[in-house]
Symmetry: D2
Subunit: 277 residues, 4 copies
Amino acid sequence: METKILLTHCKDEPGLISKITNICYKHQLNIVHNNEFVDNTSGHFFMRTELNGYFNDQTLIADLDQALPDGAKRQLVSSSRKRIVVLVTKEAHCLGDILMKAYDGTLNVDIAAVVGNYDTLKGLTEKFDIPYHHVSHQGLNREEHETEVMKVIEQYQADYLVLAKYMRVLTPSFVEKYHHKIINIHHSFLPAFIGAKPYQQAYERGVKIIGATAHFVTDDLDEGPIIKQDVIPVDHNFSALDMAQAGRDVEKNVLSKALNLVLNDHVFVYGNKTVLL
Amino acid sequence: METKILLTHCKDEPGLISKITNICYKHQLNIVHNNEFVDNTSGHFFMRTELNGYFNDQTLIADLDQALPDGAKRQLVSSSRKRIVVLVTKEAHCLGDILMKAYDGTLNVDIAAVVGNYDTLKGLTEKFDIPYHHVSHQGLNREEHETEVMKVIEQYQADYLVLAKYMRVLTPSFVEKYHHKIINIHHSFLPAFIGAKPYQQAYERGVKIIGATAHFVTDDLDEGPIIKQDVIPVDHNFSALDMAQAGRDVEKNVLSKALNLVLNDHVFVYGNKTVLL
Amino acid sequence: METKILLTHCKDEPGLISKITNICYKHQLNIVHNNEFVDNTSGHFFMRTELNGYFNDQTLIADLDQALPDGAKRQLVSSSRKRIVVLVTKEAHCLGDILMKAYDGTLNVDIAAVVGNYDTLKGLTEKFDIPYHHVSHQGLNREEHETEVMKVIEQYQADYLVLAKYMRVLTPSFVEKYHHKIINIHHSFLPAFIGAKPYQQAYERGVKIIGATAHFVTDDLDEGPIIKQDVIPVDHNFSALDMAQAGRDVEKNVLSKALNLVLNDHVFVYGNKTVLL
Amino acid sequence: METKILLTHCKDEPGLISKITNICYKHQLNIVHNNEFVDNTSGHFFMRTELNGYFNDQTLIADLDQALPDGAKRQLVSSSRKRIVVLVTKEAHCLGDILMKAYDGTLNVDIAAVVGNYDTLKGLTEKFDIPYHHVSHQGLNREEHETEVMKVIEQYQADYLVLAKYMRVLTPSFVEKYHHKIINIHHSFLPAFIGAKPYQQAYERGVKIIGATAHFVTDDLDEGPIIKQDVIPVDHNFSALDMAQAGRDVEKNVLSKALNLVLNDHVFVYGNKTVLL
């Protein structure tokens, strides 16, 4: 017996749930969880079906392809553990949280490697017996540096890249290469305070709440599909630095919740948004 | 074209989603929203299906009865506006919020009448052209008072009774008469601070968070199925009275969110719990 | 015995708390609550002192003026109930909440009048025996309309103007006339989604949290000093309209909390920020 | 120049703030932060004053003793880093968070040692070069085991003991020995679900919110002064195990926030409550 997840999305039409669940039933697969959503604005249908049983992937997919409307996307993913490569700069809290949660099993993930443009977090990473690659950006232009980073990443066959406070902007060609496979944590409640130094911006604006946003990276800086956001209250007592320190917990919690959703195949990307089922 | 909601719950078995959605499809009913849940502990299946189309209730129910396992409960409810009677004592905030939200359409409800054991809230109720019945408990024992209250309630054919800070304990016979039809707001985060004066209890315990709980009323005081809870932070600056004042917003918000769930048929009661679909 | 609030702010220097509290002690005034804050970035000192006793305002102020550094601002305000005029357009929830909280005493305020550019909320306002002035903007340019609105407002000698979902942008001359006396509720978590239709903007961006911001109105649209903010979670199920409906509770709660702070003299405006003591 | 914190609490009387701040001013100490609170129910005064300058501890304390009412408690504490010993059983998340935050400087603390009644967390602790003592309770009665634990603890001269999911009840004599020096994280929103298996209890009650409570340990199980609490929403989808997993983040966040308050001398214990200044 195996557990797999069927992800379907297509143009909405009557009878889709019935058709898909019929096929699962015919294949003697038990539906453990099922969630569906219709975006009425665009007329698009999404369904995540967690199935248990003995799978014949080929015939199952063939049956679905026959039943679903033209252009339907369907994917049968194994529930096995995904692999990530984490990119970092100097801040320890997000990386530390991921390392700890991978260690104690809270996150169902293999951290294949950590890549940093400084060596600050080498010691922390190696405590957990995970390879750390220091790829300095010193003396390299953006493209050259990314080429070096990619060489390292390529070895690891990762399912996702996680930017755990990686403080460099990626080039369009890098982003394109890992389309919807790069997850970033931005230290503001987007779309407030896009760009550099969001806590300084938040301090100067005098906001009473700060936040963090985990999103897929796209070409438009800080404009990719949002997966998870959360906030904490602040007040006049907080300097920009206090906000940055207070923000650490919310950053790491948001990133880890987003990873949990992505790693367990709960996330559909649709246009510039996510549907979480 | 009408919108109706099909509520199904029964022992879990393979193929239920497929069977139910097939029948809906066969009846040319469009599924607007569908949510299901299987309680793996008890092996029980719950499904809420919002349907749009031309209904033949009798044949639809007959088809379902044939397909579903023995003992299945299924109910087809109209999405029309429900009627409530509100019971109050002296505090205005919960009643005021319900009156205002019924007035501006935020709550899809008809307030048939308000019944109070004091006349404090008569003026407020009548501003909104809703009948207020003052049924004093003075000089009556609990059963006598409830008999009088019931006489008033009976006129109105209400779907639900809402205890909006009604500060009297109901007798088992009253509760039984309106089985799972009475919704109460308790001014604590249950099961903390059961019984009288929860804010005083919270103050004495020195908690850092207070809350409110909306639940169905059962024979066991403050032990009925919980529909909705929420909390707010407090600190050493709060006296018991300050907590009571600060708690008003959370009480009224929790009650109104619970009502919204109940009035739109999102709530299954199962054992001493609710399943919200 | 009276209760008054002493609000002091000035350039920081050693000994300020000692000097001010000495003067209060010398005047035999009891300090009920005291809160102070030093903004280390600007070197500015703020203190709110709630005093109880028999006041000789003139000598108290004179003593303070002698002790405090040049340019110090100090103000002794009575704790009596403030007067507001509320400006509205068509949406009922914020006005309704203020009316209800003034009625039941949750907000310590006199609502002198309500002014609307539509007559939609006249019925609701008059239920509470408060004068409603319908000042239509039809056929008038912005300045002409504001002149009419001001004529009405002027009669009431209000301490503050409250924009309870007043959907018109004010001219600089109007704003200047009521400098730091106009409180607005903006239906987004500022500075995200400045300007028109913030829920539509939020929907299009696919955010997972929406919010509301109460702020003083300045010349720069949605850029005034923020008093209070709060948020609620949303997800892919929410249309722009659903967000607007869900946002009602957070809007009214944020506005009413901000009013509570302002009406009880907890708010210092400093530059483009507030200090809440 | 040094930074120290003056903690004063005593019977309330007029002029206390003035007297204390005068003395600080006379000693040419600059007040960096000052917070005070009067508990009007008991007539008790609390003040935390963060001071910067050149200290003559003896004369400062002598001056205070002369000025303050009989029975006043005053304490001048250095702002230097405190030492803790952490007690654990098998769960990694709270210990892991403390280790990581001590490592990256988020918590201003020295972890002198970790003591566990199992050896499960030895590997994790030693990654951070901190001594781990496995003191098994196997074959020992409660007193014998505690004697062994105390032998280990005594070596380290800790300021506080932190129970990071230490799943054993302490004896009164142990608790008395470290009076108000033991901080525990309880995995429920106390006083709900006192005692064993709170998540199982929460599951059975069908609550919609779960939480965690950090408190000082006293003789009465789970009844000590509460320092910090927080909650997260749950629903019918959560089994007792799911709640336990979801609760990990809130447990570790609450414990680490409570530690931050305690380690920076923001916490007064008064009766069975805390005052956080």
